[in-house]
Symmetry: C2
Subunit: 341 residues, 2 copies
DNA sequence: CTGTTAGCGCTTTCAC
DNA sequence: GTGAAAGCGCTAACAG
C-alpha cells in the first residue's frame, strides 16, 4: 500500500505538499504542482491511511452503538432497521458505526472501555430505560452522545424520541372517528417511561372526545405475546355489553397476543373487535388480518441523531431534545364497530 | 486523558518500561518496577490509545460488515440476530464490527474504499449472491474475508454456510415420517444458489424414501408473501385427489403466503395441509397456527466466521469451507395428514 | 533490567 | 509557493 512518501517521491515534491493537495488546503499550491501530485496519486493509487489521520487529529470518526439482546434470544426487530438507517446517516456525515454488545450486569463498563481506549468519538444510545445507568455515566463523563429515547424527565442531555403520546393519541382519535366508544388499552408496567407516554396518548385521546376513562379498560402487562392473550381474556370477563369494541395494544407483540386470543374465541377481528399495535414490526402486515399499527419514523430519527452527533462533535451546543411524530398505518385489524352507535 | 508519558513520569520510569508492563512483554522487569508502573497506571487511570497502537501495528482490529436493505425497506430479519452474534463473537476475539451500508449499484466500491483507507482488517460478507461481485473483488484483492454463504461452486475462498440441503432434507423426512406422500416444494428462481441447495434437500428426501418426484409439485417464485399465496393457489388448481398434503416453502415469508391463502380457502392447517418454512423468523412462533420451520444455527455460524477471520489474520491458511447443520423446529403448522395411508 | 531512539503515516507550523 | 521538521501515542530494536 502506497504511503504519502511514495506519492511525494513520485511527484518529486515534499510530503507536506502532498498533504496540502489531499486536503485541499489553501496553502497556495500552483496549479501545476497540484496536477503533478494528483497524477502521482493516480499512478500510485494512494489513499490516506485513516488511522494515521485519526491519531493526528485525535478522533476516530467512529460512533459506538450497542446491540441489546432481548429476552428469548431475539433482537428487537425495530432496531435492525434502526441500525441500518443509522449506519447510512452516519456514512453520509463521514462516520462509521462501531457496533458492540451490551453487558447487562454492568451496562456502563463497555462504554467506559471504549471511551478510555479512545475507540469512538461518540455514542448513540438506544433501548434506554428509566434512569438508564449508561446515560448517567455518559453525562457524568461529559462524553458526547445522543440517545434514541428519553430516560428521566429532568436529566439534561440530547435525545430524539418517537412521540409515543401522539402516536397513541392519533390511534384513539381514529378509532373514535370510526364510531368506537368502548376502547381499552393494554399498557406496560408503570416503570416504563415509554409506556407512560404512550398511555398518556390514550388518556388524552379519550378526554378530548369527552369519553370517560374506565379503570377496567386499562390493563398493564409485560412485553410478550402470552401477556397479550391473558389481557384479552381478562377484558372478555366483563359482561358482553361492557366489553370493549377496540383495543389499543402498546406494542405489536401484545397486539398479536390479543389477536390470537380473539381468534381462539371466534371473535371477528376488524369488526367485532378492532386491534391496534405499535411499531410496525416486520411480518405484521402479513398477519390475518393484517395489523393496524403505529410506525416509528426511523429514518427521520436516525437522521436527527446523526445531525446532533455531528453538531456535538463540532462543539458544545445547547441541549437538543426532539420528538418525532409517528405514523398510523391502517390495515385490516381495525374497522367500524359491528354495532356502531 | 493520560498518555504513556504521564504514566512514565508518574512512575519515574521510561515510556518503554510502561509499554513493556502494559503488554506483559517478557523484557525482564523487576516485580518492584512493575508494581510501580501498575500503581501509576492506577493513579492516572491510563489506558493505551488504541489508534496509536493500531498505527504502529498497521491494523485496526475492526471487521467490516455490510447491511443490506431488502426490498420493502425492511432488513433481513435473520441478519439482525446474525449481527448481534457476530459482534459478540468478534468482541471475545478482541475485534469490533464496523457496520456500513452497501451500494447496490456498485457493490465493490465501498469495500474498496474501506480497504484503501485501511479502515478494517477484514470483512465478513453476508447476503451473498451467485458470482457475487464483492466476493470476486475481495478474492482478487487478496484481502482477508470470510463469507456467510456460498457464491460459486469453484471459487476458492473461506465460507461458512447453513446446510440448506440437510435442513430441507430433514423436513421432508419428517413429513414422510408423519405419513405424507404428496409433498410439494415452493422454491426460488434457479439463479439462487442457496435455493438450489435447499431444493436438493427436497429431491434427496423424496428419493431416499422412494417417492417419485412430480414436476407439478415443484414451483419457483420470488421471495415475498404474495408469491407464496399465488403458488399455493396454483397447487390447488390440481384436482383434489392430486393436491399435496404438505408444502415445504423455501422461506418463512413464502410459507406465510401459503398459510394465508390456505386460510382464505378454509383449509385447516396442520391437518388438511402441513406447511414448513425456513429461517425461524421472529414472530413466526406466534402465527396461527405457529409455523414449523428450519432454524439457521446463527450462533455457531458467527463463531465459526470469527474463528476463521482470526486464523486468516494470523497468517494464510488453507481454505476453510464449513457447512453447519440447521435445526427443524416443529410447531403447529405441520402434523399427520388428514387421510393418512 | 531499563532507557534511548527510530518510526508507524499523517498534519501543520514555521522558515525560506 | 514549497519544504523541513515536530509531534500525535505507541512499540520494539538496540544499547548500556
Amino acid at each position: 500500500m502506497p504511503t504519502i512518501k511514495d506519492v511525494a517521491r513520485e511527484a518529486k515534491v515534499s510530503i507536506a505538499t502532498v498533504s496540502y493537495v489531499m486536503n485541499n488546503k489553501d496553502a497556495n499550491i500552483t496549479a501545476e504542482t497540484r496536477q503533478q501530485v494528483l497524477r502521482a496519486v493516480e499512478r500510485t493509487g494512494y489513499t490516506p491511511n485513516i488511522t494515521a489521520r485519526n491519531l493526528k487529529a485525535n478522533r476516530t470518526r467512529l460512533i459506538g452503538y450497542a446491540w441489546h439482546e432481548t429476552p428469548g434470544g431475539q433482537v428487537n426487530s425495530l432496531l435492525d432497521r434502526f441500525t441500518y438507517c443509522l449506519a447510512q446517516a452516519a456514512e453520509s456525515a463521514g462516520y462509521h458505526i462501531l457496533t458492540f454488545t451490551d453487558r447487562p450486569h454492568d451496562p456502563a463498563s463497555v462504554y467506559n472501555e471504549l471511551i478510555r481506549t479512545r475507540r469512538v468519538d461518540a455514542f448513540v444510545l438506544a433501548s434506554t430505560i428509566v434512569n438508564d445507568p449508561r446515560t448517567r455515566f455518559l453525562i457524568d463523563q461529559k462524553f458526547p452522545f445522543v440517545s434514541f429515547g428519553r430516560v428521566a424527565p429532568d436529566w439534561d442531555f440530547n435525545w430524539v424520541d418517537t412521540d409515543g403520546r401522539l402516536g397513541v393519541y392519533d390511534a384513539v382519535r381514529y378509532l373514535i372517528g370510526l364510531g368506537h366508544r368502548r376502547i381499552a388499552m393494554i399498557a406496560w408496567p408503570e416503570e416504563s417511561l415509554t409506556g407512560t407516554f404512550r398511555l398518556q396518548g390514550y388518556l388524552d385521546g379519550l378526554a378530548d372526545a369527552g369519553i370517560a376513562f374506565r379503570p377496567d379498560y386499562l390493563l398493564r402487562t409485560e412485553h410478550n405475546e402470552q401477556s397479550g392473550r391473558e389481557a384479552m381474556a381478562k377484558l372478555w370477563q366483563l359482561e358482553p355489553s361492557a366489553r370493549p369494541t377496540a383495543i389499543v395494544a402498546i406494542s405489536d407483540l401484545i397486539a398479536i397476543g390479543v389477536m390470537n386470543e380473539a381468534r381462539a374465541r371466534d371473535i371477528h377481528l376488524g369488526s367485532d373487535l378492532s386491534v391496534i399495535g405499535f411499531d410496525n414490526t416486520p411480518l405484521t402486515q402479513y398477519l390475518c388480518p393484517s395489523l393496524t399499527t403505529i410506525e416509528q419514523p426511523i429514518v427521520e430519527i436516525t437522521q436527527m441523531l446523526t445531525q446532533i452527533v455531528e453538531d456535538v462533535l463540532r462543539g458544545p451546543l445547547e441541549t437538543r431534545q426532539v420528538l418525532v411524530p409517528p405514523r398510523l398505518i391502517v390495515r385490516g385489524s381495525s374497522g367500524t364497530p359491528a354495532h356502531s352507535a
